[in-house]
């Protein structure tokens, strides 16, 4: 559990492999992006959101679409390991297994973060707000950090169940709700001109989430993965 050089090297190896797979297929990030946009349009139709309302809604929609799209990325990240028992290959490797958690969580964070960074300017086009602002980017990355850490933890839980293909969202969304609420509230605050200090309580909640879930990964990942 000590962060030795080889521990960090293992994390980097796992992350690198995920980036390689993503680069090979160039599929995860584009799929998430298209999906996020689809959701935005779907909601505008199905929920008949009125235009004046939409300005206030932008933060909520951003996070709902990010949350749904990230689930795709999380699912892909874990089904990659499940196919042909590739996960066994990682379990065999000589390192504390929490390194697998950090490697996968980092990968998930990078991909969903990329999606978020592309979504912001797109949202700025669709909604009467410039969303490409540093404080919002910061809030987004913090929120995604907490969300993907929890998601990585839960995806490892769900992989062992018989219903693994569908379990993740059911486990993830209710548990992630506090994170999502904090992210939405902080984003809304920032969008309405508040400073980061004004929404600090939400930011602290996000930081606490990152801390807690990563501690959870460090402590429990070995336990979760053992058969």
């Amino acid at each position: 559990m000590k962060p030795s050089v080889s521990y960090l090297a293992a994390i980097w190896t796992i992350l690198r492999k995920d980036i390689q797979v993503e680069w090979r297929g160039r599929q995860g990030v584009p799929v998430m992006l298209v999906f996020a946009l689809t959701i935005v349009f779907l909601f505008n139709f199905a929920l008949q959101l009125s235009p004046d309302l939409q300005a206030g809604l932008a933060a909520g929609l951003l996070w709902v679409s990010l949350a749904f799209a990230s689930t795709l990325g999380l699912n892909r990240g874990i089904s990659l390991e499940r196919e042909n028992n590739a996960l066994d290959g990682l379990l065999l490797a000589p390192m504390d297994r929490s390194a697998i958690f950090f490697g996968k969580a980092l990968g998930n964070f990078c991909f969903t973060g990329l999606v978020g960074l592309v979504l912001l300017p797109v949202f700025s086009l669709f909604y009467p707000q410039n969303m490409l602002r540093l404080p919002l980017v910061l809030v987004m990355l913090l929120g995604l950090g907490a969300y993907t850490s929890l998601g990585t933890l839960l995806s490892a839980l769900s992989i062992q169940a018989r219903t693994r293909d569908v379990l993740l969202p059911v486990l993830l969304y209710p548990l992630a709700l506090p994170i999502l609420i904090a992210a939405v509230e902080a984003s809304r605050g920032v969008l309405t001109g508040q400073s980061l200090g004004d929404v600090s309580s939400w930011i602290y909640l996000l930081l606490a989430g990152i801390l807690l879930f990563n501690a959870g990964g460090l402590l429990f990942f070995e336990t979760i993965l053992e058969e």
């Binding site: 796992i14 196919e83 066994d88 379990l91 065999l92 490797a93 000589p94 390192m95 053992e226 058969e227």
Partner: protein, 240 residues
């Protein structure tokens, strides 16, 4: 790496292993000790528990009860012990969209092998997959994936090899290569445990035979004393 591979780290000891699935014991207080330098062939009927046993040794499955030590160390509490283990299972364990080369490079990095690129290219060549090394694993035939698995398991020069029916799907070239490799690896400082259904071809190079039956090691004999045990002899005869 060779300096680390002490004699100790190639001795496997299992004591009183119990593994149950749904209350039904598959391994039932099994004990077995495999000494340094042994090449032990594990035989047993379908469902005897060979795979379960090998997966426990590889640290992939946790027994309900009992102790496994690898060279005196507990592989569960000390992950570094896994560095000395190479495992080939029923499934190939590859990322289907990465090429053969990339997969092996990834494993080499996980094990912190030195001179990654060189080692990997060597390994691929040894199993005759050089022409296919840049194809995604998805497109390799079953036998080719099995060859690649063998290359993977030996990449970090483990002192303990756990092979679960390694001849599956191999053609004659590859099977001959495996024979040679096993013979070459069968030296002091190395231990090989190999599950097989048709061990006949192995009896010339193996040093021991272990027979898994009813959840315990029913017999464990050196090959040159097989004649003393008519029951095991008969079993091996049938198995062919």
């Amino acid at each position: 790496m060779s300096t680390q591979t002490s004699t100790l780290l190639s001795q496997i000891e299992m004591r009183d292993l119990v593994k149950r699935f749904h209350h039904q014991p598959v391994l039932n207080h099994l004990s077995l000790r495999i000494n340094d330098g042994d090449l032990c062939v594990l035989v047993g009927d379908n469902g005897a528990g060979k795979t379960t046993l090998l997966r426990i040794l590889a640290g992939l499955v946790r027994p309900n009860h009992g102790i496994v030590t690898i060279g005196g160390a507990d592989p569960i509490s000390d992950p570094q012990v896994r560095r000395f283990i190479g495992y080939v299972g029923h499934q190939p364990m590859f990322y289907q969209d990465l090429t053969a080369l990339e997969n092996l490079v990834h494993y080499a990095r996980l094990y912190q092998v030195e001179a990654v690129q060189h080692t990997v290219i060597q390994a691929i060549q040894s199993v005759g997959l050089t022409p296919y090394q840049d194809q995604p694993v998805r497109t390799l035939s079953r036998g080719m994936q099995q060859r690649l698995s063998l290359a993977r398991a030996a990449l970090h020069q483990p002192s303990i090899l756990l092979l679960d029916e390694p001849y599956t799907g191999l053609d004659q070239d590859a099977a001959a290569f495996l024979d040679d490799t096993l013979q070459g690896l069968h030296t002091p400082g190395r231990t090989i445990l190999l599950a097989a259904h048709r061990p006949q071809r192995l009896l010339t190079i193996a040093s021991h035979v272990a027979w898994l039956k009813d959840g315990v090691i029913h017999r464990h004999l050196p090959v040159d004393r097989l004649g003393e045990d008519p029951e095991l002899g008969r079993y091996l005869q049938e198995v062919g």
